[in-house]
């Protein structure tokens, strides 16, 4: 029986899709059977990031409304035979699916896959409720900005209310030199407010932009720092203990991090 993990944030553009693609690819590279589900109906992206856009025939709405069988809509990844994508519909909107249908879908996916990674749309409305409906665990992505942290806090509250407790946090796009100058929120500031377990810190990295445009997740790029961060996050998701990578964040902060990161 597999696990359904939703990747969410509240605020838009903080890296949910990037994270979903990289985690999914990372888990598949480690040999797990994985499906990525894009629930951002009307604004689908995950297919592009995965480089699978031109293979879409059926989509999520076709599956939930019974237009096709799940197997027909799943797109096999270019690199890994054990990685699949269930794309979002582009010509419909969030109300084309409801949480009950998502629960049914999640159960079906769990029977088939080790991990189902749900890429959640921004916001707290129906798209969010759909995305979390069938999830067993949640990963919250935020950037080191006050507004992103505020939204992450709201989301964590809503997840708790929906019985999705102990979400894990990814801090994305951190820029060590800005933190050093005191121009960016540091990690302990963020953890002070959110008080959840940190599962990874991803640096701001050009290779993300390049790999996104190429449709090849950075997690496969051995030279990418962000890729390295995602490789470590992937391992932590499967329960492995891995230290945080050295991002050259000032000492003191790193010390504190070691205590705060719950490594199990």
């Amino acid at each position: 029986m597999g696990e359904v993990i939703v990747v969410t944030s509240g605020k838009g553009g903080v890296g949910k899709t990037t994270t979903s693609a990289n985690i999914g690819t990372g888990l598949a590279a480690a040999g797990h059977k994985v499906v990525l589900v894009d629930t951002d109906i009307g604004l689908r992206n995950l297919d592009v990031v995965m480089g699978l856009e031109n293979r879409i025939v059926y989509d999520l709405v076709d599956v939930t409304s019974g237009n096709c069988r799940l197997k027909q809509a799943l797109i096999k990844d270019k690199r890994f035979a054990n990685l699949f994508l269930l794309p979002a519909a582009q010509t419909k909107d969030k109300t084309a699916v409801n949480p009950e249908q998502m629960k049914v879908l999640a159960a079906e996916l769990k029977a088939e896959f080790d991990y189902a990674i749900i890429d959640c749309p921004a916001g707290i409305e129906q798209g969010f409720r759909n995305a979390i409906a069938g999830a067993d665990r949640a990963i919250v992505v935020c950037t080191p900005e006050v507004s992103a942290v505020r939204d992450a806090d709201r989301i964590i509250g809503l997840l708790e209310a929906a019985e999705l407790r102990n979400p894990k946090l990814i801090i994305n796009r951190i820029r060590p030199e800005m933190v050093k100058r005191g121009d960016m929120m540091d990690i302990s500031d963020i953890l002070d407010i959110l008080a959840v377990e940190l599962i990874g810190v991803v640096p701001e990295d050009e290779s993300i932009v390049i790999s996104t445009n190429r449709g090849e997740p950075a997690v496969m790029d051995k030279t990418s720092k962000a890729g390295e961060a995602y490789r470590r996050i992937t391992k932590r998701i499967t329960g492995e203990e891995v230290p945080l990578m050295n991002l050259d964040v000032p000492i003191g902060i790193m010390d504190r991090l070691k205590r705060l990161v719950g490594l199990r």
């Binding site: 006050v146 505020r150 806090d153 809503l158 407010i193 008080a195």
Partner: protein, 227 residues
């Protein structure tokens, strides 16, 4: 509950109560009352209302003026409340001895019903309570607490807190780490500090001479206050 700077209107189980700031000028009170009623008149039409202004007594003329304004909004003045009757907000009057109630009201809200919130209030959460509120956790930015009594936060208070929301100027807000976005007590509003100093320890905010003052609430002074 609605309020202006010196006037507060509150619905209770026994009907509407208008609170007037005893220290405010009558003209100011009536001006604010008019504004307040104008904004909420739809909800109120035809209701009866009782008034409270502490120990201050209105003259015949003032009384008549007040009644005129209420009539204009189709409200009926049915009586005045004494300090004894007001007591601590949220506490029923029937069982407690009148003497004790008065003392509490006079000395500053040391007793009364209390809501325990046994978790952190995250952004988007709002807690409103007729009485005191104690939070066993943090109050994050984007969350708010509105209480007619005191507010105490065992963790960090970074959101918005409004104590004494129906005009009780003796209410206080205390926190282990007091760094609110905005703090209100009765009708006094302040913004939080721009830079968040760490490790100051527990602090308590109160109104003194019409200003919100924040003081250290060290163990010693807590003990001193308790008796």
């Amino acid at each position: 509950m609605t309020r202006t700077e010196h006037v507060a209107l509150k619905g209770t189980r026994d009907g509407l109560v208008l609170y007037f700031d005893p220290a405010a000028d009558f003209g100011v009170l009536m001006n604010e009352l008019d504004k307040l009623l104008k904004n909420s008149v739809q909800l109120l039409q035809g209701a009866s209302v009782r008034c409270y202004s502490g120990k201050k007594e209105f003259t015949e003329d003032e009384h008549a003026g007040l009644e005129t304004i209420l009539k204009k909004r189709q409200l009926e003045l049915t009586g005045w409340l004494t300090p004894e009757e007001v007591g601590v907000p949220g506490k029923s009057q029937s069982y407690a001895t009148q003497d004790k109630e008065t003392r509490i009201w006079e000395e500053g809200m040391e007793e009364g019903s209390c809501l325990f919130v046994e978790r952190t209030l995250r952004s988007g959460k709002s807690v409103q309570f007729d009485g005191h509120v104690v939070v066993l956790g943090d109050v994050n930015p984007g969350a708010e607490i509105i209480a007619t009594g005191n507010i105490a936060v065992l963790g960090s208070l970074r959101g918005v807190a409004h104590a004494g929301a129906t005009g009780e100027r003796k209410a206080s807000v205390s926190a282990y780490h007091l760094a609110p976005t905005q703090l209100r007590i009765a009708d006094v509003v302040t913004r939080g500090p721009a830079d968040e100093a760490d490790g100051r320890g527990p602090e308590i905010a109160r109104i003194k001479d019409d200003q919100l003052i924040v003081e250290s609430a060290g163990v010693k002074s807590w003990r001193g206050k308790a008796r």
